[in-house]
């Protein structure tokens, strides 16, 4: 199963993004930012890869502010999505 990992510049943006996803009916799973990506105690949100266009749309519309998007599967290799 392919997923998207959304990372943020601040925890407040993560909280905001969670609320926006909920409002749009997109299932988002709060998770700690993997150690492969940051050593600090960051919060990320995992969503199904199918939502990629919706997520990009929310970013373009300025509804959510993200730091990076990564794709990853069960093998937990995080590839930045440009």
């Amino acid at each position: 199963m392919k997923n998207i990992l959304i990372t943020f510049d601040s925890t407040n943006y993560a909280i905001q993004c969670e609320a926006v996803l909920k409002e749009k009916g997109i299932k988002g799973q709060i998770m700690p930012t993997p150690r492969e990506i940051t050593k600090s105690c960051g919060i990320s949100i995992r969503v199904d890869y199918e939502e990629i266009e919706n997520i990009k749309g929310l970013i373009n519309d300025g509804k959510i502010k993200v730091k990076m998007l990564y794709s990853f599967g069960e093998e937990r290799i995080f590839e930045p999505i440009l």
């Binding site: 925890t11 799973q29 709060i30 998770m31």
Partner: protein
Amino acid sequence: MKVVDCKGLTCPKPVILTKKAVEDPDFDEIEVIVDNQASRENVKKFLQSANVDFNMEEKDGLYHFYAKKKGEIKKVDEPVVCSISNISVDQGLTYIISSDKLGTGDDKLGAMLMKSFIYSLTEITEKPGTVIFLNSGVKLTTEGSDVLDSLKKLEELGTEILSCGTCLDFYGLKEKLVVGSVTNMYTIVEKMNATKTIKI
């Protein structure tokens, strides 16, 4: 279609049987049935590395793999790692979660930290034997909680999930429990005395 029935078998048996069936020169199409998550993951991993086409369906707690030859079968010679079986559930460890937020301070932050915490429990290899939810903590095990998926996964992997009955009653959530079972204070105290307890 040949059926490889692995009900009741634990890792590495299902993978060994699947491997045998797939490497059989007559292999074309098989169905593999397993009944636990560890075997499901291992069979899946094996089929992927063996270059076999497959899909998986879950039916009544059983996992059915429908595998089909798509070309040259890759010989997978590395030993079967019972990866999910590496997960250990420490029966001598209890977590008490006494709030639906983690830590004191901002509630929004606390709620988010709790989600992150519970999600991470599903990924770490050493899991607590029991997690007890008290006071507003019971909002996490009941309808409307955002961590139900994680808690269900944890329970499936062997952790006992208990919610305080008095607390469910107080919050009007008695009929809304989704994961785990109801417990009372005697059981909670006994668990605390008998195991290493960490209050979250």
